[in-house]
């Protein structure tokens, strides 16, 4: 059934469809409407879940870790300061290999306090061992949350589904909501293989990782990340077979006709596609949907015939004057010119005019550079 709903509602619908057991909820803009919607589902008996009204995001993640370690399918949602507050626990969730799924509604970080969208929050958690997916629209949000459970429970890593604050969270648009039975068959019931607290099988979780074992645990997470690429690919294909919508680690748009290539993540990809369709069909787009694990080979392959690329980043690595996606690409695209465009920080709108400016700038570019687009004079 198709319904006109917001991005946060789309995520909440996915949580209901996946029959999540334990939800930990703490309000933060622009995520709040997600946990509100889930509360409604639980209050009306549409989702049979334990709903923990925790007193902070730190406790939200801690409760999810406790619940997941007991063998429950868990969910929480956050943004910005909330995600930053969770920081240490994100490492613990991945270190314990718990398949927690979290919605992060991308929002800038203080100070100055800013409730609007950029990717600084999730990018700052890049190295916590979480799989990071970025959605372009509300349909993708729902679909990615469903797939996230299957991916997480297969590779035993937590998954963060990122959607742009306000731009998706507060925007309604048509979303196909799949049948409950179909989704439940697709994700199955979570049967923990490695970690669950049960008096009949007394295991110890979260011990002291002495130097003799710690490094191995890191290597295992890295291997799981590598494995995740294959698993995500497989789950994408299974999803397409079941629900008809096609997903992949990266998505390309109009590359076959392009003389100029942009690369980006999240909702701005829609604006770029609109630009391509209406203003300049010589532009192509690489949309990075799976940011961690980073699809190195896939990106390299689609860029084989191009000698430069314009990378849009809604985040900034201070002291490097580059965004994360561009920095990552430096290491895998050594033979290409990388032009980095810092855009949309703290809710600065990314307009068609901005895209045009980027494309023109990129066409002129002879060497690597970083430009801040849309700054006020």
């Amino acid at each position: 059934m198709k319904k006109v709903i917001t991005g946060t509602s789309a995520a909440a619908e996915a949580v209901r469809l996946c029959d999540v057991d334990v939800v930990a909820a703490y309000p933060i803009t622009p995520q709040t409407s997600c946990v509100e919607k889930i509360a409604e589902f639980v209050a009306n008996g549409e989702l049979d879940a334990e709903y923990i009204k925790v007193e902070s995001e730190h406790s939200a993640m801690a409760a999810c870790i406790g619940a997941s370690a007991t063998g429950a399918r868990t969910f929480t949602a956050t943004a910005s300061q909330g995600l930053a507050l969770m920081h240490e626990l994100l490492f613990i969730a991945s270190g314990m290999r718990l398949p927690i799924v979290m919605l992060n509604t991308n929002r800038a970080l203080s100070a100055p306090i800013n409730i609007w969208c950029d990717h600084q929050d999730s990018i700052s958690q890049r190295d916590t061992g979480w799989i990071q997916l970025y959605a372009e629209n509300n349909q993708e949000t729902l679909d990615l949350v469903i797939q996230a459970y299957k991916i997480a429970e297969t590779v035993l890593l937590p998954v963060m589904v990122n959607i742009d604050g306000f731009i998706l969270t507060h925007t309604v648009e048509p979303v196909e909501i799949p049948e409950e039975e179909k989704v439940r068959n697709f994700v199955g019931v979570y049967e923990p293989r490695h970690a669950y607290l049960d008096p009949d099988r007394p295991i110890t979780q979260g011990p002291v990782g002495v130097p003799e074992c710690y490094m191995e645990t890191r290597k295992q997470i890295e291997e799981a990340m590598e494995e995740a690429k294959k698993v995500i690919d497989k789950v994408n294909k299974e999803f397409e077979k079941e629900f008809g919508r096609k997903y992949s680690l990266i998505e390309t748009y109009n590359l076959e006709n392009a003389d100029t290539v942009l690369m980006a993540m999240g909702s701005v990809c829609g604006t770029i596609k609109h630009y391509i369709n209406n203003y300049d069909n010589k532009v192509g787009l690489i949309k990075v949907r799976t940011y961690r694990p980073f699809p190195k080979e896939e990106i390299r392959k689609v860029l084989e015939d191009f000698d430069k690329v314009g990378i849009l980043d809604k985040n900034i690595s201070f002291g490097m004057n580059m965004g994360a996606l561009a920095i990552d690409c430096l290491t895998i695209l050594k033979d290409k010119t990388i032009c980095n465009y810092i855009v949309g920080l703290g809710g600065r709108d990314i307009t068609i005019q901005n895209i045009k400016e980027i494309v023109e700038n990129l066409r002129r570019a002879k060497k690597d550079k970083t430009e801040w687009i849309g700054l006020n004079k």
Binding site: D21, D48, I65, A67, T70, T74, T204, G206, P207, E212
Partner: protein, 295 residues
């Protein structure tokens, strides 16, 4: 009394000789029995019992971080509920969910998470094992460090007399949350402590037990005196034993005649800088508190 013989904490752990924390665990788990899940925040107990690949725990156990045992226990308790209801797991067994946290992990950095769990009415037992300082990091002051005790961050010097504040009153703060059961206990009174654990576990909802646990290393006394010092803390009125059941306060042990605080103080290096005059101040403070509690 014959104490239950089943052990849920195995020997071979790395606790100090004379460690009181392991006595807390032994007693609590003998009272709770096998069908128990334990979470421990970061601290001595966690470190000494679980250096990979060995664990001293014989019940399912999890450590997450320093400041979130209340939330972790909430997650476990709710997961048990959900999995019982939705998937028929854990059969019909009543599963005890117990958090065992030190004073730092409970009264300081973990306070918010503990308060949240208590206020929400989670069906958990939180045991705060109180050794009155951050022992795991080498004896730094916590909000449970008593008046005039020297620690590495509240040292006795020419100007300072050790810690300048008395203990934070955790059981009363927990009672103010309106939880059904709050108690104090001391490892030197094992029957009393175990009875309280059993009683707590028979009650649905959040329960809190504050158990005093002398620490040979942090307090500065010979390891064989762990129990004797705990007993003195109670006999002097420094650490009164009571319970608050559904709001009703009751002393569970009343010494015939309170011993002078000096006897307790003089056994410990952390108080050795004190003059008789200083001890008199502590005595006065303790007298006032005991009066308030009817001791």
């Amino acid at each position: 009394m014959q104490f239950p013989r089943e052990e849920f904490l195995a020997p071979g752990h790395r606790g100090c000789a004379g460690c009181g924390a392991s006595i807390v665990v032994r007693l609590a788990l003998k009272a709770a029995g096998k069908d128990t899940i334990v979470t421990t925040p970061t601290g001595c107990l966690e470190v000494m019992t679980t250096p990979y690949p060995e664990t001293a725990w014989k019940v399912p156990w999890i450590h997450v971080a320093f400041e979130c045992a209340g939330a972790v226990a909430s997650g476990i308790s709710r997961a048990v509920k959900a999995l019982k209801r939705k998937r028929g797991k854990f059969k019909d067994k009543k599963i005890n969910v117990i958090a065992i946290g030190g004073d730092g992990g409970s009264a300081d950095i973990g306070f918010q998470s503990l308060s949240g769990a208590m206020e929400r009415g989670e069906d958990i037992l939180y045991i705060m094992y109180d050794n009155e300082a951050y022992m795991n990091t080498g004896i730094q002051r916590s909000s449970e460090t008593p008046l005039f005790a020297a620690t590495t961050t509240s040292p006795a010097g020419k100007v300072w007399k050790g810690e300048d504040k008395p203990k934070k009153d955790m059981p009363m703060i927990m009672a103010a949350h309106g939880v059904p059961y709050v108690a104090t206990a001391c490892i030197s009174y094992p029957e009393d402590f175990m009875r309280k654990v059993k009683k707590a576990l028979s009650i649905e909802g959040p329960k809190f037990i504050h158990v005093l646990q002398p620490c040979t290393t942090g307090w500065g006394y010979p390891p064989d005196k762990t129990i004797e010092i705990g007993r003195l803390a109670v006999e002097t009125g420094v650490f009164p034993l009571y319970e608050i059941e559904y709001g009703e306060f009751r002393l569970t042990y009343k010494p015939a005649k309170r011993k002078p605080v000096k006897e307790y103080i003089r056994m410990q290096k952390r108080f050795r800088h004190l003059t008789d005059e200083d001890i008199e101040k502590i005595q006065k403070y303790i007298d006032e508190r005991c009066k308030l509690l009817g001791l």
